[in-house]
Amino acid sequence: MTDTSLPAPPPKWQLPDLGLLGWMSVAILVFWTFVALFAPWLAPYEESTILTNQSFAPGEDGNQMLLGSDYLGRDVFSRLIYGARLTLGLALAATLLAFVFGVTLGFVAGILGGRTDDVMSRINDAFVSFPSIMLALILVSAFGSSLWLLVLTIGFIEATRVYRIARSLAQNIMVMDFVEVSRARGESLWWILKNDVMPNAFIPLSTDFGLRFTYSILLLSSLSFLGLGVQPPFSDWGSMVKENMAAMNYVLFYGIQVAAAPILPAVCIFSVTLANNLLVDWNLSRSQKDISGELID
């Protein structure tokens, strides 16, 4: 009598083998998510409270400011915590927006093909032929840079990039044999989209989401650093670097720790983008690709 029992099913979910760097990256992202969510409870002071009339007062003078004060005498440590909120929140909102529009339109173009695809893709090509920061500057000079407009601007720019990937994914999937079978069975386009295209596009799109999130953070921070992104009284990490650059002139008098005011916000940005890129690279290496090929846009 042969054993007809099936082999044990694989466990439904197990911890992925991320390696040391991978788990450190996860820890960094979890940490910043926590900081962004609970900023008001974690920060010792309000972000806009002026605590001293001294610019770049060092932290160790018994003034209860861990990292000293910024150019207006506000607590740098508290502002870093609140900065996480704006930087990560705006970048995440922009990335989500980019994916909702980019993926929807990209799938429509990729699945319908023909004239619809031609028209949509030519219009998209026009926007992709700009360097993204240049497009951002043009849109900001036209519309200004309130928080909502920044999300819309960055979301729009990234959506033109997401569109290209979603479209080519959908095109590649639509010529697969199993789609042919679904069509022969008489399934509707909606059914094919839901059951054939979406499940197969999910993994590559999730990798791209990581990349887009990094780009959104860097684009937002660069705009803010140029003074064209987040405007006072709000401030994200990029604008903190800009407004505290003068601290470099105080290093001579107060010592090197004064440089924390412009440098730490940049380091915070770096920690998020690095953790994100390491995870993207881990994700790509499973499919034998190379992050540097992806990281050029």
């Binding site: 760097l21 090509d125 026009a126 926007f127 032929s129 700009f130 360097p131 993204s132 920061i133 240049m134 500057l137 043009i138 849109l139 900001v140 000079s141 036209a142 519309f143 990094t214 860097l218 921070s221 660069s222 650093f225 140029l226 003074g227 064209l228 990029g238 670097v241 650059m245 470099m248 290093v251 001579l252 090197i256 440089a259 412009p262 440098i263 940049a266 380091v267 940005i269 770096f270 983008t273 690095l274 994100n276 890129n277 390491l278 690279d281 190379d290 992050i291 540097s292 090929g293 990281l295 050029i296």
Partner: protein, 316 residues
């Protein structure tokens, strides 16, 4: 066949430039009322606003103004700056060589370094050097330009006091003065483009190394170094040039941040200031300058790929 392909690609580049000019113009002129209000400030009465619009030709239909502006791009008549009333061409002209010089020096420094490191890593794939270069390049692409720049300023301008924190070049600057002023800006730009260029050089070489002709050379017993330099490199030159052209286009994004942080009076700084003060003619002209360079480099990358593909050289 080949000539047709290249001509078609150049025509496509020109068409792209035309569409880009449409978007630049439309994008910066969507709110013409605001331009007048932004320049004249809050004290402007409806009469002064109307007079200003008439003076600046803002009251004429958009397509007329576009046609005038578009042809002005070729004749050098770029209109007057809203902020200073001076001709935009006169403002940009002295700044052009500065930005081109900054970008040129960055390219001269970054390209040989990136190709060299990429080649060296390709000679020893999987080695300690190769793996640390991979992780290192992920770190470098993750760093915003202003982090690299502020760390450089802190080290070389504030602590060591070897280099000036502000890159100012006088009109009669000697070579040494230019080198001193541009060292940190060039290093920052290099960091921005080095990693992708290096990694893509490496993969271009490794890609060629997987070809049957290389396998043949290995079987003949040719040493690995000779294989890479004599057999792989000539075949990888086209993809590498392609990579270089694409990445040089990305220097543009870095130039905006670098010129701002080092107060370098080039076109990028002019554009950033123009956006802040909503000086539309200045923004339009600078945007066209950068987009033209970007499109040119992408065009060059594509033409090199067409030239490098032997299958396209003969009509089927």
């Amino acid at each position: 066949m080949l000539g047709m392909l290249i001509l078609r690609r150049i025509a496509l580049g020109l068409a792209t430039l035309f569409i880009v000019s449409l978007i630049v113009f439309a994008g910066t002129e969507v709110l013409p009322g605001d331009v007048a209000a932004a320049v004249l400030g809050q004290g402007a009465t409806p009469e002064t606003l109307a007079a200003y619009r008439a003076e600046m030709n803002l009251d004429r239909p958009a397509y007329e103004r576009y046609a005038e502006w578009f042809f002005g791009l070729f004749t050098g008549d770029l209109g007057n700056s809203l902020a200073t009333q001076r001709p935009v061409a006169d403002i940009i002209a002295p700044r052009l060589p500065k930005t081109l010089m900054l970008g040129g020096f960055a390219a001269l420094f970054a390209v040989p370094l990136a190709v060299g490191l990429g080649l060296y890593a390709a000679m020893r794939p999987g080695s300690w050097f190769d793996r640390s270069l991979t992780t290192g390049s992920i770190a470098v692409v993750s760093a915003p330009e202003f982090l690299v720049a502020t760390l450089l300023v802190l080290a070389f301008a504030v602590e060591l006091r070897w280099l000036p924190a502000i890159a100012r070049i006088s009109t009669d600057a000697g070579f040494w003065e230019i080198v001193v002023a541009l060292t940190m800006p060039v290093l920052t730009l290099t960091a921005a483009v080095l990693a992708p260029m290096m990694r893509m050089t490496r993969s271009a070489i490794l890609n060629v190394l997987s070809q049957p002709s290389i396998e043949m050379a290995i079987l003949k017993g040719v040493p690995r170094r000779t294989i890479i330099l004599k057999h792989a490199l000539p075949n990888a030159i086209a993809p590498i040039i392609n990579v270089i052209a694409v990445n040089l286009a990305y220097i543009i994004g870095g130039v905006l941040v670098v010129e701002t942080i080092f107060s370098y009076s080039g076109v990028a700084k002019l554009m950033v200031d123009g956006v802040a003060s909503r000086d539309i003619p200045v923004v339009q002209a600078c945007a066209m300058f950068f987009c033209a360079i970007y499109i040119l480099f992408n065009l060059m990358a594509d033409v090199v790929s067409i030239l490098a593909n032997p299958r396209l050289r003969h009509a089927k």
